[in-house]
Symmetry: C2
Subunit: 75 residues, 2 copies
């Protein structure tokens, strides 16, 4: 079974990667870009029966730095 975890920086946390992409897009002539935020998407191939709670525990312990990041799980 597959699960997908989306990890994004919380609002208000500076996103240097997003800023760099935004700047580069401008330099390439893409003017209509107001802001860019970049995060991670983690695709997990799991044994049958793995619960969302277990995936949540993986997020809390490893996949997301919950001080500055928020995560969303798609089972």
């Amino acid at each position: 079974m597959k699960a997908r975890v989306y990890v994004m920086l919380k609002n208000g946390v500076l996103d240097p990667q997003g800023e760099a992409v935004h700047h580069a897009l401008g330099a390439l002539g893409f003017d209509g870009v107001e802001s860019v935020r970049q995060g991670k998407v983690i695709e997990l191939d799991l044994a049958e029966g793995t619960t969302e709670a277990q995936v949540g525990e993986m997020c809390e312990k490893l996949l997301a730095n919950t001080v500055i990041e928020s995560y969303r799980i798609e089972m």
Copy 2:
């Protein structure tokens, strides 16, 4: 208007980041994880009227390395 771009490594391309996460999950005692793939999610805040084709051009020129990565756009 918002657009989201998902960038993942193409199948068959070695994913060292995914391997590292897989290994770390095992070390933390999460046994039921068969494989892990990690990619990027890029949230773009765009001027009204920006087309999917323009976002595609951003992907081709900057957001994805199309030699080893594939991308999916959500407008």
